[in-house]
Symmetry: C2
Subunit: 677 residues, 2 copies
Amino acid sequence: MSDEQTDTHLVIFTPSGKRGRVASGTPVLQAARQLGVDLDSVCGGRGICSKCQVSPGVGSFPKHGVTVAADALSPFNKVEARYDEKRGLAPGRRLGCQAQIQGDVVIDVPPESQVHRQVVRKRAEARDIVLDPATRMLFVEVAEPDMHRPEGDFERLAAALAAQWQIEQVSVGLPVLARLQATLRAGKWQVTVALQRRTDGWKVVEIWPGYHETRICGLAVDIGSTTIAAHLCDLSTGEVLASQGLMNPQIRFGEDLMSRVSYAQLNPGGAGEMTHAVREALDKLIGALAEEAGVAREDIFEGVFVGNPVMHHLFLGIDPVELGWAPFALATSGPQRVPASELGLHMHPEARAAILPCIAGHVGADAAAVALSEAPEAQEELTLIIDVGTNAEIFLGNRDKVLACSSPTGPAFEGAQVSSGQRAAPGAIERVRIDPETRRAKVRVIGCELWSDEPGFAEAVGAGGVTGICGSGIIEALAEMRLAGVMDKRGIIGSAEVLGDVVFAEGRTWSYRLHVSGERVIAVTQNDVQQILFAKAALYAGARLLMDQLGVDHVERVVLAGAFGAHISPLHAMVLGMIPDCPLEKVSSAGNAAGTGARIALLNLSERRRIAEVVRKVEKVETAVEPRFQEHFVDAMRVPHENAPYPNLAAHAVLPDIRFETAGGGEDGGRRRRRRG
Amino acid sequence: MSDEQTDTHLVIFTPSGKRGRVASGTPVLQAARQLGVDLDSVCGGRGICSKCQVSPGVGSFPKHGVTVAADALSPFNKVEARYDEKRGLAPGRRLGCQAQIQGDVVIDVPPESQVHRQVVRKRAEARDIVLDPATRMLFVEVAEPDMHRPEGDFERLAAALAAQWQIEQVSVGLPVLARLQATLRAGKWQVTVALQRRTDGWKVVEIWPGYHETRICGLAVDIGSTTIAAHLCDLSTGEVLASQGLMNPQIRFGEDLMSRVSYAQLNPGGAGEMTHAVREALDKLIGALAEEAGVAREDIFEGVFVGNPVMHHLFLGIDPVELGWAPFALATSGPQRVPASELGLHMHPEARAAILPCIAGHVGADAAAVALSEAPEAQEELTLIIDVGTNAEIFLGNRDKVLACSSPTGPAFEGAQVSSGQRAAPGAIERVRIDPETRRAKVRVIGCELWSDEPGFAEAVGAGGVTGICGSGIIEALAEMRLAGVMDKRGIIGSAEVLGDVVFAEGRTWSYRLHVSGERVIAVTQNDVQQILFAKAALYAGARLLMDQLGVDHVERVVLAGAFGAHISPLHAMVLGMIPDCPLEKVSSAGNAAGTGARIALLNLSERRRIAEVVRKVEKVETAVEPRFQEHFVDAMRVPHENAPYPNLAAHAVLPDIRFETAGGGEDGGRRRRRRG
């Protein structure tokens, strides 16, 4: 026992808290491996890669019951000195593969030295992303050939990967095989390989002589009906190197999904045209992202793509015609992973493009990405997640069960079909307040911190001026109009006789003046209200349908996602009746959750696999054929609702009990129309 | 019990002998499945494919203790009648899926109705090939889409394959996915699919609406240094549909292997040129085979390729430079399977090209194919297997252990480097007999049954006449020359003074006149003898080296393979000393064993996988660096050998104890030269 006490030392790793005794002289990297501590190394402990940096502590650590002597680790050795000279080692840092344990010690593993390091997400409630990408780089020493044991060079490389990295079932393609022998000899039997996980093991997809450092990158792409948004990420760090977006060029074939499906139905070869258009745009986008990040296309080894079912099918080259009519049959609902080259995308020759699973004929891979980002299946509270786009994808559930549907909101929330509507961009009104006394509005625009009634507003906004109103602005505008008594429960805007000059006549209806600058008048017309009510009623009806299905009459939490959802005011959304009643502090915005989900799937292959299982278990509800959806829709054309109780809202706001005359004297038109897309 | 007796019937299947009781009314196909009898069905019992034909017996079967009543099976039904009318059902045949068991019955499953039917090989000692190819066709009924259970069409196809055919882990590529929905609907939810086994499960590689019959084909190709030989096979029956061969166009870069390796070493891009040449030739050959068989290139789903290591590397696009010097490192020794399109071969778009494993730097995939055909690892007797080509691959072993080496015989056995040498083709001398009294030769040529001293020989041979001598002819010639005292133990041809006018002077040596027709003299020169002795000594030395390694001084069985080996005379081979002494009746010819091995690997995927394991365990001996090889070589330059005993040969032939003068009066030149390739 006393021998053990002297020949072994206690080592405690932080932040994991893992501890154990190791033999005197054990390198820190080896100790970490013995104790199951996540300490990175690309070169396998040869003092080349410097990925295994640690920060040893010195002095007393009462918490751990240890006092660390100054000589608890071996002194700085030649390898560390050379590394420090050439590339610089931060004060207090040691190379884990060089420093040997000579006494009891506490060793901190900084985040960047962890293999499965976490990529921190900004929102407090969001889980961090654990790095575990499908492609990784490893340095390996390969045995030299022996004519009496004539295994091939590749078989010896595979054996080395198994022995040095516990990587089994390794395959190789012809391009690497053709360069293998020359590379092994150029690197003097030391090479760096890029390995890509496949369903049948690992594939060596790239090889460099000696120790080689390069960025290996991946793409996360959200193919929206209107815009395509892409992030280029460093697969070793999770860092976003570049982000860009562009309009989906398929718009020239049809504004919304159904018009694109119709285009495919009516024009032979139409689906192929749209497939070509989106792939070509994506390929250009990849080039632009690579240029922005200063990497080569060949450094991109993986792409994860999400999109609604029509985008999903067109991207994969599948005619979406079956998605245009019941039973809305998907060609495939499962996850797919294919060579990127088969999609016309120029990345590394062995790069793979993965597309997340679709959930149902109207609930696509983008919704799967939202589920991956927001994890409805992991919630304690009954959570309603709404991803707002041209179609809204809606999840309702918690640990016990998750339901999903999609609802055809139309593009009104994205600024289309609204007279002064525009996409969220500098100059767009995003906040609105209406004085209940004067019924006059003040606004704030994107790119400017001042309200329009504050001094210097015009100068701060700049030469472009106030250009229009974006989705979150129009929601606030309508909610404020309702709160200020400018608009009644049915959405009817009052006349000048009642409201004075804040409204003006347009044909037989009234419009509310939101902002005037010079000649330009930004107003909310009666038709604008109608369009927004269509959209919000569809949202609400979808949510209610899921609540019916689950047999609940309220939800405990609401998450609003979508580019739009990042800026929404919970109070105003509730006044408008976009969402069911719920404690206000339990309403949050998740930003571009689909894009985040794509990024998680890119950076963590297990999560990518897991979400396919999760969405398979999601209970799907098809709104298009559900009669109750129509009833809920009609009742939701009121502001906030025909009859649903809003007790939480009532605690924060009083909605005036007013009723204006309609132009025709009859009911509003909202009960007449329905469309999908 | 009596209920069971009346409600169930005894059914006995032949030839398997499997028996059991099944419920009355059970279709024969279902009974076969219950009892584990191998009865084919592509349509899954729908009366479409007719693959499940059986021959029921009637009357008394004392051997089985059963008497079969005339009504033991249900009467011919409509489906059978329709099939009989349209396509004809042989007398006594029934469709197994339609005929129901109504009494005790004996049912014969004809060979063509077995899934794993056996492809009979001609040689008595060869094992039959059990059909189990990597690609198969199946008919399947797919559930229609249901919007409330929104799995994709592909996922429902996969579920149907699992339920109806127990096929799990099914994937699909983009081309089939793009056609999937239209095909399912065109076939009214019945489709025929071609499924290909991959390392990660099965892939749907082709789809047709409804029940579809087509040949699915595969290629077995032996890429020799000199010739490429290919068979096109029907993967469902194992039938060889077409066979063709062509010269390897790489010959223009070098006659033998080493000169091609040198070409690659000396000319930048030289390896690429040779890769291109062989792939282009193969692609043309595939086109020619498809045309001969009347199938489309797209009907070919799989190719198995074998060849020596240099051919293997060049075919895969790997520079063979490392094979030119010790340690003769292979780029890969394991089996590879890649898309045929990556090799420039135009077959089905999803077709795979498999190349068998290499055994060592000089023992290639062709040797693996020989091992697959001849199964040294399964032999009771200690067996020597020699595959004769430009290089000879040699196996020695039995159940306990197998050794392998290659030996550089050179192209003499293929007719090169021999004055009148030619490839085995009509007009070539293939048999030789020399009268020991007159020392005159009679010959037989390929394509003619008569000996040259029989009446009508000249007419029977035809206008082309006797054109030269092929490998088996030259072996017989030399052995007969030795037996008739024309040539001594050292290979020296006697002078005219001793032998008379059967020899004539050429420079300072003598040539033996084998055949004269008009102006044309076909003779064996002293140099011809030298070339053949180099070749046979290399063969023998390789075999002896393996015997040394195994610690044995004789073998129990010899198998001669190679296109050449098909025609060889065991007695003459032994007189010449090509092979060690062995009972004559234990020497057999295996024909083109490499080609046969390729065909086995094509038709049976388990065998293809198994041989990779077998060759991994083979003990490799590298002749190029083994000093004893040189010693054995020199001793084997005698006819039959300097000092090895030939007791079995002595029982069949007496070799005259003579010794002629050499031209220079000294030793022969055989001890001076060695070359590889």
